[in-house]
């Protein structure tokens, strides 16, 4: 990485990049926090309806997705570790696994959406689920789509970034001396995982 004119050392430049990424992650957390707050408010108002609606969440798919994401956080961290120690081959494999796990996550999410839509569980004005009257329950499902949808969009962005990083690693632009970009990408991926860790119990496990 080239030293920019406003920095007097590469160490400072890298430390600043890391700080910038942390600030960005804090900002993104607030985006999800607002949705969580909305969820909490409506849950407080409609405890029975949310309880009834949550019974229709696909706990199996949700739990599989949790394992996929948790594992992917591990593999990306390992990938950085291997890069640091100059083991490029292993790093590429681990990063590819991370991307694969992320893609699987997205596919399962689409499957889950498809299953819900087939039953008529759609957000807002399109809701037509015969088992549960709309009032109150539809809010649970709309929030479900909004929260998991926003999260899935962030996963998509993360996958794009990881794919670009894989190419750079492959082409030798990321090395054991210069792997800051991979570190930053890994940090972002951990946030995406962390958000899911909060989402999963709230939507799938809560009674």
């Amino acid at each position: 990485m080239k030293l920019e004119v406003q920095y007097d050392s590469l160490a400072r430049q890298h430390a600043t990049a890391r700080l910038g990424m942390w600030v960005f992650l804090a900002s993104e957390s607030l985006l999800f926090a607002a949705l969580f707050a909305l969820y909490a408010a409506y849950r407080f108002i409609y405890p029975a309806e949310f309880h009834a609606a949550a019974a229709h969440a696909n706990v199996l798919l949700g739990t599989i997705n949790t394992y996929l994401l948790l594992t992917s956080s591990l593999t990306v961290a390992l990938s950085i570790h291997e890069t640091k120690h100059g083991r490029r081959r292993r790093a590429l494999v681990l990063l590819a696994i991370t991307i694969g796990l992320g893609v699987t996550f997205e596919v399962l999410k689409l499957v889950e959406y498809g299953l819900h839509l087939r039953d008529g569980i759609a957000p807002g004005g399109y809701y037509s689920f015969s088992e549960l009257p709309a009032h109150g329950a539809v809010l649970y499902f709309t929030l479900y789509y909004l929260m998991t949808g926003l999260h899935a969009l962030h996963v998509l962005g993360g996958l794009a970034a990881l794919a670009w990083l894989w190419l750079r690693l492959y082409r030798g632009r990321i090395t054991s001396e210069s792997y800051l970009a991979l570190e930053l990408g890994g940090l972002y991926w951990h946030l995406v995982d962390l958000v899911w860790i909060f989402l999963w119990p709230l939507i799938y496990l809560v009674k």
Binding site: P133, A134, G136
Partner: protein, 346 residues
Amino acid sequence: MNELLRHLLNLPPQASSVARGIDTLHYTVIGATFAGVALVAAITLYFIIKFRRAGAAPGTTPRVVAPLWLELGVAGGLLTLFCAWWVVGFAQYRELETPPANAIPIYVTAKQWMWKFEYPGGPASSETLVVPVGQPVKLIMTSRDVIHSFYVPAFRIKQDVVPGHVVTTWFEAIAPGSYQVLCTQYCGTRHSFMRAQVIALAPEDFARWLEAARGPLPLPGAKGEGQGLAERGREVAAKHGCLRCHSIDGTPFIGPTWAHSFGTQRALAGGGSVLVDEAYLTESMMDPNAKIAAGFQAVMPSYQGLLDPEETAALLEFIRSLRDVEPVRPAPPPTGPITLPGGSRG
């Protein structure tokens, strides 16, 4: 003095029981504002004149730092002053939010772009809200579409009217007159046209007006402006199946009877009791398991989303109209397993 300040500040007449007190706080706060800003301006002006630069700039100026006691004094003094205003303002706000027990209820429906007023057991009207002087009036309000706001500048009262909520405000007019009502929450194209009038009449005049407004009952089955609200409530009760569980003549049945219930204390399962008023009845319709009456079981379904605000208001009025009906057979309430007629909710 009050009148002088009121005119200087362009405030409307103090036509409600709370207006004078609120204006007094207003004068205090605004007076302090003017005084404080004048002080700041005066000190600044004084410094500009006393310390203005004459000739070339000096090489240095003396180092002056604010003493901590002065900073804390200014901050503490101002905070004390602001909190004192907050205390008075909050006390007045609580009064504004708490209708007196003897307030007569009037139902208000806001919709784009008009106000509708309905009297218990009596007439309904748009654009004009007739009230007696010297008698607290409680407005029970909801909106049919978007957020509106009921504002009477002369009374110093305001309440946002939110769809999906039933909100209350109250006032007591202290002088006969006509007072403007303005919608003050932007609600669409004709927001600025959504106005009404409060007409305050001397009590005898009000009684005469109400008598005349009630008039002969319309033909049975007729609906509309002339129909009494309680009659409408009876229709709603029949239509939504309430009468399958609740009697109106005191007969004990699946749910508590509506006869002689409004305004009484009701014992609750698990201890405690509650006053049977609009709030409790509305809650019972929307969230029936929140409070279970002693001796009854939790079998009532929720009507949230099934009753619109106008129907809710009508039901409340109908139940209220039955408060003097003596129960026909004061037998103990049923116990044991319940079978609902029809098997599902009405």
